[in-house]
Symmetry: C2
Subunit: 231 residues, 2 copies
């Protein structure tokens, strides 16, 4: 199993040998916001058979990208976390997300699933370090029954699943609205004005939140085939 390799001495090909199979990078995406339990992964990855999930997790473990952990008390339940090597796939996953946000995100289709964690990663993907050079703040997002937090510290950002210990600000909203906010299709201020979102906490931190991200204008791929380029 999984002995299919591209057989190329190339950094990209070697990487895809490890994480290029179906579902693997999405599994990494799930783990980028913190350790996850087997059942949670299964719920997030609709369409992935349980056998395949087990096989992929074993593969990630064998290759040193993830490892099994026991969640701290009071949970004490098994979960999977990324190793340092796995964590460092973050930039690559975010690069794919940046491309997708610009070129592949139309409106949500009827049968598509959505999880707030995906939108959180999209926010992280468009974080502008310069805008946060002098900012230290923790934002907590409560979306439906999921909670995430963003820790912004002097030009760095980290998104994690679960509540924050001492959030400077808390934003509360529904799934649909959160998806729109993260994709830049709605403004937080508008959503709060509407009552489709509520925010509390440090007003200055909240004001700066919207300035931390620079989202692209979505483009329709079929609109720019550049038929002129002949070289």
């Amino acid at each position: 199993m999984q002995q299919r390799t591209y057989g190329q001495y190339c950094a990209t090909a070697r990487t895809l040998d490890l994480v290029g199979e179906r579902w693997t990078l999405l599994l990494v995406r799930e783990l980028l916001t913190g350790p996850k339990r087997y059942g949670d992964l299964q719920r997030s990855l609709r369409g992935m058979g349980t056998g395949l999930l087990a096989a992929r997790l074993k593969h990630l473990e064998r290759e040193g990208l993830a490892h099994k952990v026991t969640l701290p008390a009071p949970a004490r339940t098994p979960a999977y976390a990324l190793t340092e090597a796995g964590e460092e796939l973050g930039p690559a996953v975010l690069a794919l997300a940046r491309w997708g946000t610009k070129w592949a995100m139309g409106s949500r289709r009827e049968d598509e699933t959505f999880h707030p964690g995906w939108a959180v990663l999209a926010m992280e993907a468009f974080f502008v370090p310069q805008e946060a050079a002098d900012l230290c703040a923790v934002y907590e997002f409560r979306v439906g029954d999921e909670v995430f937090h963003l820790r912004v510290e002097n030009g760095t950002i980290d998104a994690q699943h679960g509540p924050a210990q001492h959030p400077d600000a808390v934003i509360d909203t529904g799934e649909e609205m959160f998806a729109q906010l993260a994709e830049g299709r709605e403004r937080l201020a508008d959503a709060i004005g509407d009552g489709r979102a509520t925010a509390s906490g440090d007003a200055e931190a909240l004001r700066r939140l919207a300035t931390l991200f620079c989202l692209p204008v979505p483009v329709d791929r079929s609109a720019s085939p550049r038929p002129s380029e002949n070289c």
Copy 2:
């Protein structure tokens, strides 16, 4: 055909719906250094059946990531080139390459193929814009029977297949040596001293060449399972 989709409203998943299938990103990689003919792609992608190559190219065309072009005179032969959307996958491919260079590039295995273009992309992946803020230079690399050039312009870099019009410097070497140079396992100065490489042209441009890239120290994944991380 290709209607298998992850069904997730997520920028990463949507991207992988488009380019996540086997061989697709490697095809994009080939096209990142300029238009390529069908036969050249086939030679670069050993193991990819001709039927699959045709199907993937058609897919990329249909999705607006690549298009068919006619190479300028005197070639006048058909080839495939990336569209703007396809070109913008470059950062994602380079991010995968950066990860692979650090975590997945041991020494070359016996049965692995190698093409200089892959090493050229690796160089591009580790380009440090700050180091080239005040530099404008074109480097030509002649490796075996392949020629590439790097155009460095005020903090930007672009790698393309084929000779340069007015190179400031020309580096000539063999495939194995070039692979080592691009991966940072050998120094250009040493290789020239040995006679395993020759360089000519602007001495200042050549001196600065080695300073333009910041390569990582390779790490063995199996060496850092971080067994302590339990949260």
